[in-house]
Amino acid sequence: MSYIDYIVIGVIAAVVALAIIKLVRNKRKGVKCTGCIGCEKDCNYLK
């Protein structure tokens, strides 16, 4: 594994972490779904 590999792994980890943070934050807000596409702004997911 070269240092470039570690940089790419870091980028991947950051992207996945951001996605997980967003999901966890939504769960904490009490959002029940994974972000559907029908509620529009009726859903707390986008608030």
Binding site: V16, A19, L23, C33, T34, C36, C39, E40, L46
Partner: protein, 664 residues
Amino acid sequence: MRIALTGNPNSGKTTLFNAITGKIEHVGNWPGVTIEKKESKVKQSLNKNKEDLIVVDLPGAYSMSPYTKEESITRDFVEEEHPDVIINIVDSTNLSRSVFFTSQLLELGIPVVIALNKSDLTQKRKIKIDNEMLGQLLKCPVVSTVSTAASNNGLSDLILEVIRVGKSGERQGLPQIGIGKLKNRKADAKRYEFVNEIAERVEKRIIDSAKQTRQDKADRIIAHKWLGIPIFIMAIWLVFSISQAWLGPWLAGIMGGWIDAFYNFIAGLLGPEVHPVVSNLLLDGIIGGVGAVLGFLPLIMLLFFCLALLEDCGYMARVAVVMDRYFKKVGLSGRSIIPMVISTGCAIPGIMACRTIKDERQRRTTAMLTPFMPCGAKLPIIALFAGLFFGDNGWVGTSMYFMGIIVIFLGALIIRKMNGDKSKTHFIMELPEYRIPSFKRASLSMLNRAKSFIVKAGTIILVCNAIVQLLQTFNWQLLVVADSAPQTSILASMATPLAVLFIPLGFGIWQFSAAAVTGFIAKENVIGTLAVCFAITNFIDVEELVLISGAAGEVSAVFGIGAVAALSYLVFNLFTPPCFAAIGAMRSEMESRKWFWGAIGFQLGMGYTLSFLVYQIGTVITTGALGGGFVGGLVAVVLMVGVVSYLMIRGSRKTAANPVKQLG
């Protein structure tokens, strides 16, 4: 100051709420769109003195005696939370019906300001309302509004009046209804007398209401019991053709090109120095998986744009009327259609909309069957298989849409028999005006859905695809799997036992069973997982797939299944239980463990049986022989059908023994 927006269903509350707050809450040209209260501040342009004005949009109600769950929300809020001012939105085209609720609100002792909404329509219909006299008779201010207009809409006057009334602290006088100590029906009869008297005194109709309008004439065709069905089929076919056959694939091709360019750009940046496991995780797992899902974004946006136009022009409300007569026969009603239409966007709000149904059995049955409508998340799966195996034919999407309706119809019949309920249902719905659909509203609806789709692709889909890629890359010893032996991966070893169950359905391949399972997390994952498993970034460009397969024109060579098995897989994904989030919504709306687990079992059985029938019958028709695993599949299907038949017979016996209406 807290201001409650109340009024009858479809009086334009949410449109007015959006207009005075600057929000873009979902509005629909039919009753029952709002099922929960929403709050927001009044926008600055209408609140120049920067008062603390909070507006609460409440579900529509016809009276303070609630008939449905969402009407209770309105009553409870007004009675228990005591807003400072109530804006009562009165549909000026239907004054006599609206004022019944107004008269009840006035008795609460909370200051009321009447927004005489849709006043543009009263002018068109040559109805004259004497606002001053109405205000005098009801003893509250009346302001004419047109919430759909951008200017001269009366909203500034309305807010000024609300501030004046709220700050004055004066108690409004009560109108002279003369109910006294009368109760229930007698009180209602007296109230109706009062309302009719008001309507007679303040309203002048130049056009005879008994005369047929152009709308009535159009409804005689569009909402006709026989003609309504082919018109509905044609409308949906047109929507699917535009979005998935004509314009959609062209736009998706452009989008696919951008995703490919981004993929190649990142691949170029990484170069050959990066370890293949790492570069594959980023390129095939994350960019490829998410890109494959995002590739369908233009198709979905177009579809929702077209559906929003249909809804906005007032057509979908007619569909509820057309379908009512058929749904009545299976124990549902046109009211069940509304959640089903909403479900074409997402099953979750569709299931939540079931609370507008008062009858418990009907509500639970609708919540159970609503997810059978192809939701937005399932549309990429339809588009994928329609594009790859059926030449982008608009009939694939249309037939899946109507297959959903037929399955709902069949399911309702079975559940009614199981439940032993023979009660008759009634459905009354106020048909909204036909109007030229607003491109602005449809565009906003489309953009909101697109935004949510992108957010979903960037969160749950991205995480799932990264996990799938890792599970596919390593075996249980955490060694990298050789390209020649993908079946040794963790993912393959987990999915292979499950794939055995799918042999009778034609897709007993581990990649497909893995995709079906990840689909329960979010249905778009089916696309993402297939993209990761088959290392395909662009599902839109069929020519690219043909190049991958190396067999001219044979997309099936890539996936290892033919068109019949592809259709069977599509049916399986559409008619098995929805994603976990929708399952959660189903659980909370059903309020019964028995119904909930029954629903899950029913949906699994329905999906498996339909998929089995599609594959086996399709194989017999196309090859003249039965498909693989026929006997095993038949045994499973016969067992499921046997259990359902037994429950239906038991339900019928229960009814015969006790003819009183049974509720689960």
